[in-house]
């Protein structure tokens, strides 16, 4: 009898072992010891087979879902996904994850800050392009003989001098308050660091160092004679002397419901000031921005593993398709729309956008 009992006991134990092994194998096949996606893990619930968020939030990247949950919330995400086609859902989720990531990095300005920084860079590049084209025009119009070369040299030097501007004039110019319709109050000392967009957006290290390198490059440019458009606000002078301020300017951020928050330029006087900015300073500034972006890229690689999807996000977006679709969507909106905003980002608007981004002065 005891032998039979022992045999039964042994079989039972062996059966339980087999059951345990089968369970482990099943869990492993499902994707890990728990099998739940990051969303369900965060919410501490069982991850169903038809979980709508599971494809977009792998368990290995919990931070992605945390950012999204903080900004949008699960209900909002699910509502957005329900309205979309199957083909649009992955793109929508990527944009939501990206937006949440940017909001996590820049809690105050989020994607709006990124947009305005890009507009500023566009303005910088256009100004430099204009200056370089004018120099090129000068060279092309030169006669081949050497007799006029001295004269042209003088003209060239004079042009450079004029474009270099008068620093004293810049210091005396009273500041102007930019009103884009959505002017930006940028006085902050948080780490609102946004990667300069000469490379696809990469996650920025959480340390202050990237911000300091960017700020340093701006200060270095100011030593070369570039003076930012001044501001009329009371804190304008404070901003100009604050080397820790990345944006370097303070503008009142107004949400104009009438134009639906579109970017409309209401300050033309900034244009004259901008035309006096130094060409060489702009060139060195762009170089410094590139250096800063490279510096940031080194730091960003350290956190790259956590945001793999975001690295490839901007390459995946088809701007033609998205913008064409968005244009239709914008056209149908009754209030001011993003389409108007982008359409109105003409030359004047972009120049005015630059007043959002006055650089710090060393003085």
């Amino acid at each position: 009898m005891s032998n039979t009992k022992n045999i039964h006991k042994g079989l039972l134990e062996r059966f339980l072992d087999l059951l345990l092994i089968a369970l482990i194998i099943f869990m492993t096949l499902k994707g890990g010891t728990s099998g739940a996606c990051a969303a369900c893990k965060y919410q501490r619930r069982r991850c169903a087979a038809d979980c709508p968020l599971a494809p977009y939030f792998p368990a290995e990247q919990p931070k992605l879902f945390q950012n999204v949950h903080r900004l949008f919330g699960v209900r909002s995400i699910v509502k957005i996904l329900e309205k979309l086609d199957e083909t649009q859902k992955p793109e929508a989720m990527k944009s939501i994850i990206f937006q949440s990531y940017v909001r996590d990095r820049s809690p105050v300005y989020g994607c709006l800050g990124v947009t305005q920084q890009l507009q500023y860079m566009i303005w910088l590049a256009e100004e430099e392009l204009k200056a370089v084209n004018s120099q090129l025009q000068l060279y092309r119009s030169q006669p081949q003989n050497g007799q006029n070369q001295n004269q042209n040299h003088n003209n060239h030097n004079q042009m450079i001098h004029e474009l270099g501007g008068d620093n004293k004039q810049q210091e005396d110019v009273t500041s102007q308050q930019l009103d884009l319709g959505m002017g930006l109050n940028v006085h902050n000392n948080q780490s609102n660091v946004v990667t300069p967009f000469f490379s696809p957006l990469l996650p920025v290290s959480e340390t202050q160092q990237p911000q300091m390198s960017y700020t340093y490059s701006c200060s270095e440019v100011n030593n070369n004679g570039y003076s930012p458009p001044a501001y009329n606000t009371d804190s304008g002078k404070e901003i100009l002397t604050n080397n820790n301020n990345v944006w370097g300017g303070q503008n009142r951020f107004l949400y104009n419901v009438n134009n639906g928050g579109g970017f409309s330029n209401q300050n033309e006087s900034c244009h004259e000031m901008k035309s006096n900015n130094g060409v060489m300073a702009i060139q060195s500034q762009l170089v410094n921005l590139q250096m800063a972006s490279n510096h940031q890229q080194v730091e960003e690689d350290e956190d790259a593993h956590e945001y793999d999807e975001i690295h490839q996000f901007l390459e995946i977006i088809d701007d033609r398709q998205s913008f064409a679709d968005s244009k239709e969507a914008y056209a149908s909106s009754s209030g001011g729309s993003l389409k108007e905003q982008i359409d109105e980002i003409g030359e004047n608007e972009l120049r005015s956008a630059a007043t959002c981004f006055s650089l710090t002065s060393m003085n």
């Binding site: 903080r70 900004l71 949008f72 793109e91 809690p107 994607c111 566009i122 107004l254 701007d319």
Partner: protein, 157 residues
């Protein structure tokens, strides 16, 4: 009862308040009648207290602003974000959220990220154009330099 009737008389004598019999804290109600509730409290159909976190940033004249933000992000998330941000930055935070909410409503797939993508490509295009133009400029400058040195060399010779 006598206290209430006296209070009604006092209220009606002070100004054109809409005095109706009500229960609850009279002082609080008076403040609500003098200052209309903010757009958030109107939308949420709740009492707008003096310490309402939304009141300074969602004026009653802009109802769609809060409606959009609430539809996309939710009032509780906005409230959390406002509490995490410094007081002097809250207005900017609200306005950026309003911008993002409107962009997401206009384009449910890409939201404001579509604009970022377009602008980034524009930046890259301009940078490429700048590089090409600078290369042209360098070429002309070097030609000019070589002609100048030859001219000077001729004069000295």
């Amino acid at each position: 009862r006598e206290t209430r009737s006296n209070l009604f008389k006092k209220l009606s004598s002070r100004g054109p308040f809409l005095v109706t019999p009500f229960k609850g804290d009279i002082q609080e109600k008076m403040s609500n009648y003098t200052n209309s509730p903010c757009a958030a409290c109107k939308f949420l159909r709740r009492k707008c207290t003096s310490d309402c976190v939304f009141a300074p940033y969602f004026p009653p004249e802009e109802p769609t602003k809060f409606a959009n933000v609430h539809r996309i992000f939710g009032a509780s998330n906005v409230s959390k974000i406002l509490h995490e941000v410094a007081p002097h930055q809250r207005e900017d935070a609200v306005n950026s959220l309003a911008y993002e909410a409107e962009a997401r409503l206009n384009d449910p797939v890409y939201g404001c990220v579509g604009a970022i993508s377009v602008l980034q490509r524009q930046v890259l295009r301009l940078q490429r154009e700048l590089e090409e133009t600078n290369a042209d400029l360098m070429r002309y400058a070097s030609c000019l330099g070589s002609e100048t040195t030859s001219a000077y060399g001729g004069r000295r010779g």
